[in-house]
């Protein structure tokens, strides 16, 4: 079982090692190639430092030491039905876990998948998964061929083809697709497909990526089920680093991120220089934004400090009547009473003016409501006519 005390001790001992290592930090001269350096001080799995609790402080923060190792026992144990309802994730079959996790019994055909796709998916993901409209493509053709484009890099030639990263060419595991279809699709009303429907859609996506499962082509007649699903090997399954599957892999992950050159980082403890003079590559020059760049900002960029332009929004007459007028004007001069002329022989403009300014006989200015003159006139018209214009 996990023991926090032991873990903290481990962190403290590594932090001492870090202090020693930091004392040798400095300018190390020219260092064109940091890889291969072994003076790493990575203390955390991410290659960075961590701040163990020392003297009741972690970095600049005090901690209540009583809260460390306290047993609290909040909450309750979920029952089997609750666990089953929420534990719907999938994990792939691996040597350590040959059956994977959460991959349910069921089946679905490419044919059914296509029908479903045409009904529920094509409007966003395009014909045959070609993408469009801001939604990702699901296929760009043959998965095995396209996997080979992953070494394409538009570094020097902007007109060159870039890598194609779609399900077939890039994704390491098919469980990801199955799980995401089941839990997250269709996007506007997710969590609505059955297990068999999910198998059918997965089969269809394998089909449009021109994939094979266990040597068998996923053709138009193909029916996918759990047993076959477990045998799917994605073309790019080995395309990722560091290794994350298997027992005791976290040390390897830590070692990977402990070496800055693995991920394009520069570390002063790994041979990088803290350069202050003549630091730029001599070939470097100014590259400016091309063709105006991206500037369709929503809303447009604006740093002025003014009042927002008032939008002309039609007043909600009945709501305003209920909130601001009805207290008095349901008893007399109620909507549609039409007899205002008797009160103000001087005409409708006088009616408006009295209302806007208020009267000594009890009408508060605009009835106390926060209305423009125009909106107030609309309310007066309503009271006279009983009709919403």
């Amino acid at each position: 079982m996990f023991k926090l005390e032991a873990y903290n001790k481990l962190l403290i001992s590594t932090s001492v090692a870090a202090v020693v290592a930091f004392s040798v930090v400095g300018c190390m001269g020219d260092s064109t190639e940091p890889s291969g350096s072994t003076t790493s001080v990575s203390l955390d799995i991410d290659g960075g430092v961590s701040y163990p609790v020392v003297n009741n402080k972690t970095s600049d923060y005090y901690v209540n030491p009583q809260a460390i190792g306290a047993k609290i026992n909040n909450g309750r144990v979920p029952n089997a039905a609750e666990l089953a309802k929420w534990d719907t994730d999938l994990q792939p079959a691996t040597p350590l876990s040959p059956e994977g996790h959460g991959i349910p019994e069921g089946s679905g055909s490419v044919e059914d998948g296509e029908t479903l796709y045409e009904a529920q998916c094509v409007m966003c993901h395009g014909d045959f998964g070609s993408g469009g409209g801001g939604y990702p493509a699901l296929s760009k053709g043959n998965a095995v061929d396209l996997q080979k484009t992953l070494t394409n890099n538009r570094w020097k030639d902007p007109e060159a083809d870039g890598p194609t990263r779609v399900f077939g060419s890039y994704w390491p595991q098919a469980t990801t697709m199955w799980w995401y279809i089941r839990d997250g699709m269709p996007h506007p009303f997710s969590d609505s497909l059955s297990i068999d429907e999910t198998y059918a859609l997965t089969a269809y996506i394998l089909n449009i990526n021109e994939m094979y499962v266990d040597g068998e082509e996923v053709d138009d007649e193909y029916v996918l089920n759990r047993a076959k699903f477990l045998k799917i090997k994605m073309p790019n399954v080995d395309g990722f680093e560091p290794v994350i599957s298997g027992a005791n892999v976290l040390g390897g992950v830590k070692a990977y991120f402990g070496k800055a050159s693995n991920f394009g980082g520069r570390n002063l403890n790994q041979g990088a220089e803290h350069c202050m003079k003549d630091c730029q590559e001599p070939t470097a020059k100014i590259k400016r934004i091309q063709n105006g760049g991206i500037k369709d900002f929503i809303p447009a960029m604006n740093v002025t400090r003014d009042l927002p332009k008032k939008e002309v929004v039609a007043i909600d007459v009945k709501k305003t009547y209920t909130e601001s007028c009805a207290m008095c004007h349901s008893a007399f001069l109620s909507p549609g009473s039409g007899d205002w002329a008797g009160y103000t022989p001087k005409g409708i403009d006088k009616v408006y003016a009295n209302g806007i300014n208020g009267t000594e006989s009890g009408m508060p200015a605009k009835g106390g409501a926060d209305l423009s003159d125009a909106d107030f006139k609309t309310m007066v018209d309503y009271l006279i006519s009983g009709k919403v214009k």
Binding site: M1, F2, L4, Y7, F22, D44, I45, D46, G47, G48, V49, S50, S59, D60, A70, I72, N73, N74, V77, E82, L83, W86, D89, Q91, P92, L96, L150, P163, Y170, P172, T176, G184, S190, G239, P242, I244, S245, N248, L250, V253, G264, G265, N267, N269, H274, M276, D278, E281, T283, A284, K285, I286, K287, I289, G293, D296, F297, I298, M301, R305
Partner: protein
Amino acid sequence: MDNKKSQDQNTIDRRDFFKKAAAVSVTALAGTSLLANESAGEGDPAIMHHTKWGQKWGDPVTKNQYGIPSAYEHNVIRRSTKLLASGNFRASIAVTPIHESQGIITPNGLFFSRSHGGTAHVDPNEYRLMIHGLVEKPIVLTLAQLKRYPSVTRTHFIECPANGGQEWRGPQFNSVQFAKGFMASAEWTGVYIKTILEDLGLKPTAQWMLAEGSDNSKMGRTIPVDKVLDDAMIVWGQNGEALRPEQGYPVRLLVPGWEGNLCVKWLRRLEFSQEPWYCKEETSKYTDLKPTGKAIQHFYANEVNSTVTSPSPEIPWTDLKEGDVVEIEGLAWSGMGTIKAVDLSFDGGKNYVEANLKGLVLSKSWTRWSYMFTIPKKFQLDGKQILLTSRAIDDAGYIQPTIDQEIGIMGVEAVYHRNAVETWEVTEEGKVNHVQIRSV
């Protein structure tokens, strides 16, 4: 610095100050600059006229029972673009106006917002958090029960690892809001997951934790237990109030310093396992393709980074002239530790001077830096337009690479985790344009 020395320093500083102040006022009297600004005769209307707000009642205290910004601040808002509009703005991002940011805290209403199935609106009464898998005792908690754990409060930035990711092949956004605003910073309150695990007991074979949201996309990510047992938190508080819906109300994960995407919002479930999960957002996306054809998966930390926020394309120097003294200000941050130093270059990263850190310097947090500068003629130094480049260093030893250094290893197709130095060019008129200094 000891007390004696610091007192002496203060005395000198104060004397110095009075001397300088006297010199400035003499210059002011003798020079024409102040006179030129003086309004002839009638005086500045802003001073001479009665103001609307000075002569009648203001609002009663009962108005705006939850306060809102001045109407004049209506342009200080999150923004988006069509490029980032995927899923009808439901699998999309709206970014923080960091050119308007003050200090190291982002107001909750301006905190950048990213979702994969739209902003969920969770009923806190129906909120449940389930923790299960390789633990001795699985549990389910209500929100009230979760908040009964001893709380911790920490200031951390959250950054989308695609911050700057549209500009691997060259600058695209003439805007610091879009070039660097896929991030924000807040003071978060919650509980360390390791505190809860004290109750549950983590089994020794556990290597990974799945964090899953309850939103429409069931956003999930895999996190190694090393981080879970270090500083990963379950948080419900943001800058002294409940999380906003856009930040995962009522509860999100906070993985300090790591990809914002790992800080799963509307959090409903944590599961521990020996094998990882391969969620959609840690395979199809959030992986860094290198020129070797291999992609980095589980690229956790946002690396050391910095930017100049003033001046910026949004806040240029067009109101300044030769001889004016101005503060150059910016942000530095690292998900791998604490900012140690920031250097500033006026020639696009060829030569650097040390800038000054300013205010609180906290781990895995935004850090302010500052440099006082006198505007030269035509905004030129040695006959060339000023090219402002900042470069940060953290206490793990990481220093921002040049663009050439970074793409030399990562190529230009990685999308995520771009942290090479960035440059603003100041034109003869004091306008500020985003450029990059690179060989290809």
